[in-house]
């Protein structure tokens, strides 16, 4: 088997299997509109949340397909390939995630079910009676989600280019464009039901591929012990740009804190993303969520195994493909190339389809979540106050198209690196909504002015820190990664940890700044007796469950 880098080096077997599976799920996407259909899809409860009636299995596939994206599946091993043990943070991240969100997710489901909330900003609007705070949360959600959608395209494109569709210029993006057009159309028609149905295929394929890869490849390449030893050697080679070793198979004294804060910060942030919440809100009841919090770590196990493929690629001497459109070596292609070189082509085709379809499911859910935010918290709040549920659904459908083509435009006209930067920033930004969304589920102690002040602080500081991080590998002066040396940490010019080379995740630092400012401003505002908005929610709302007698009917006109 040859690497498909030469012009005309199309991998026909792989491509045929890929196209076959792609067409199959596309048909599913269109048919999904009729799946467990309500009388009408013209309501956000139906189009945007699939009727709020998904059971345990559907939710497991949907949320699993939503959180563990194609980009994760190519980027995590790529990080391990480049840096070693640090890239394994994805495992602790997705293990501590569920115990952390178990209780708040239940409260969020109940209050949203009772009050008809569709987005996290809806909740903030109801909890604090503040359209401004809700707008900030909605904008944060949209800004954080857009590059995430674009990154699904990066994952999809990594696969397409490995199969030989590595053209230059705009024409090189054509296969991607077609795939996304199909996706946009069935999402428009079927709403959340489409990714929910397709997720079954996607996750099934992913499980088969990863399990085969993890057992077959090491036996072919001399066993895990040999893989780790040869990877340790490869990572110990000095990086030509910095003169330091590239990485190591265990953490160093400098990146342990980075590992911890990255895992914790990412875990706190994940369910603040609007698309994660969409999966939770679409479930039928609290019991479904609880069972899923137990069952979803199955995906974490998979992600951990997948991360190890970064070492397999190192050991197999894989070289990443140069993206013909940008001219840079794309480290995200290491896993596709590994599959391409090590698997028979028919199985590589299945593996690529798994990653490709794996990009479509989260992209659909994310665009629906962003569309819901736009519709509920910007369109209905500021542009058309009296919008009926049917008008909302219509608006959201159109917004989902705009969001998707916005993401495509990102990839077509702007260096994909920009999306990667933005996604990195997005994680830091979305974490800044934690006090307004997650803490507000428990207490209204924070004053809405304090929350706004904290949000502004966290945003500004977080972005400033990321901006100042250089990346010697790519010779870029800004947005070079998410590792901030503590010695560079500056509070108005004061360096509390001057000289330290220990690294930390900037999002975590920004969140601490956010909370400190929110507390101080809250205390001031409370002492000045500034009005803190009205709370629409009641204590009982946070405990409502599916069989309650007086529960708000689904699809009700508010």
């Amino acid at each position: 088997m040859t690497l498909a880098q030469a012009p005309g080096g199309l991998q026909w077997t792989e491509l045929s299997i890929f196209v076959l599976l792609f067409v199959f799920v596309s048909v599913m996407g269109f048919v999904a509109a009729r799946w467990r259909a309500a009388a009408s899809l013209e309501h956000l409860d139906e189009w945007g949340l699939g009727g709020r009636k998904f059971g345990s299995w559907i939710t497991w596939f949907l949320v699993g397909g939503d959180l563990y994206t194609a980009y994760t599946f190519v980027a995590v091993p790529a990080l391990v390939f480049g840096a070693g043990a640090l890239g394994f943070y994805a495992l602790p991240y997705t293990v501590i995630l569920y115990p952390i969100v178990f209780l708040p997710a239940l409260r969020m489901w109940s209050v949203s079910r009772t009050r008809g909330y569709v987005t996290p900003a809806d909740f903030v609007r109801g909890r604090y009676g503040s359209p401004t705070l809700a707008l900030l949360i909605a904008i944060t959600g949209i800004v954080a989600t857009m590059p995430y959608i674009a990154l699904q395209l990066v994952g999809l494109e990594a696969v397409l280019r490995t199969m030989g569709l590595n053209g230059g210029g705009i024409a090189g993006h054509l296969p991607l464009l077609i795939a996304f057009l199909v996706l946009a159309l069935y999402t428009y028609q079927s709403g959340l039901r489409a990714p929910a149905l397709i997720a079954f295929v996607k996750d099934g394929l992913i499980y088969v591929v990863i399990l085969v890869a993890v057992f077959y490849l090491p036996s072919k390449l001399g066993g895990w012990s040999h893989i780790f030893d040869s990877s340790a050697q490869a990572l110990a080679q000095p990086n030509p740009n910095t003169g330091k070793p590239k990485g190591s198979i265990v953490l160093t004294s400098n990146n342990q804190l980075q590992y911890i804060t990255l895992a914790l910060g990412s875990a706190l942030a994940l369910f603040l993303y609007p698309h994660s919440l969409t999966g939770v809100l679409a479930s039928r009841g609290r019991n479904v969520i609880k069972r899923n919090m137990m069952a979803l770590p199955a995906y974490s196990l998979l992600l951990g195994l997948l991360a190890l493929l970064g070492y397999v690629a190192l050991s197999a001497g894989i070289k990443p493909i140069t993206n013909a459109a940008t001219g840079n070596a794309d480290s995200n292609t290491v896993v596709p190339v590994l599959f391409d070189t090590q698997f028979p082509s028919w199985f590589a085709g299945i593996a690529f389809a798994a990653i490709g379809i794996g990009a479509l499911v989260p992209a659909a859910i994310m665009s629906i979540a962003a569309a819901n935010l736009w519709t509920r918290n910007i369109y209905k709040e500021y542009l058309r106050r009296g919008a009926t549920p049917a008008q909302e659904a219509k608006q959201a459908k159109i917004a989902s198209l705009v969001v998707k083509f916005g993401a495509v435009a990102f990839i077509l006209f702007i260096d994909p690196q920009f999306s990667i930067d933005l996604q990195l920033i997005g994680g830091v930004l979305i974490l800044q909504t934690l006090p307004s969304v997650a803490i507000a589920l428990y207490t209204r102690w924070f004053h809405r002015i304090g929350l706004i002040a904290g949000w502004v602080t966290g945003m500004a500081w977080g972005v400033a820190m990321l901006y100042a991080i250089p990346n010697p590998n790519t010779h870029r002066a800004h947005f070079g990664g998410s590792a901030l040396p503590l010695g560079d940490l500056s509070i108005f010019g004061w360096h509390p940890f001057s000289g330290s080379t220990v690294q930390i995740y900037p999002g975590f630092v920004a969140l601490i700044g956010n909370l400190v400012v929110a507390v101080i401003v809250t205390i001031i505002a409370r002492n000045l007796k500034v009005f803190n908005g009205t709370d629409d929610t009641e204590g009982t709302d946070y405990h409502a469950d599916e069989h309650d007698k007086d529960l708000r009917p689904i699809g009700a006109v508010r």
Binding site: A85, F88, L91, P92, V95, I96, Y98, P99, I100, F102, L103, L106, R107, P218, G223, W224, S225, H226, I227, F228, I249, V250, L251, Q256, Y259, I260, A263, L264, G285, R286, N287, K290, R291, M293, M294, P297, S300, L301, G304, L308, Y442, D535, T537, E538, G539, T540, Y542, H543, D545, E546, H547, D548, D550
Partner: protein
């Protein structure tokens, strides 16, 4: 903001079992497992130790799920799973 209907849960529900959810956070104590040896099936300690924590995480959530579900606050209804009725005790 207190409850309106009788028999409904309103305030925060604190169960000591919820503290079990903190156990998986021990996974963040990297000095405890940042070693290469001993290896199992060729995997360095750093990796297989963290894989074991997937089980710890699942077990912790399962313990909280099971210990906090069996307390219905509404009685005299048809025989359904208690947890589907109301779920006192699982909210902090």
């Amino acid at each position: 903001m207190s409850g309106k209907a009788a028999g409904k849960v309103s305030g925060l529900q604190v169960s000591p079992w919820n503290l079990v959810l903190l156990i998986p956070l021990l996974m963040l104590v990297t000095p405890w497992f940042n070693f290469d040896k001993p290896r199992v099936l060729g995997l360095p300690f750093f990796y297989w130790y963290q894989f074991l924590f997937v089980i710890v995480g699942v077990a912790s959530v399962a313990i909280v799920y099971v210990t906090t579900k069996g307390k219905p606050t509404v009685t005299g209804k048809p025989d359904r799973l208690a947890v589907q009725e109301l779920d006192e005790g699982e909210n902090r």
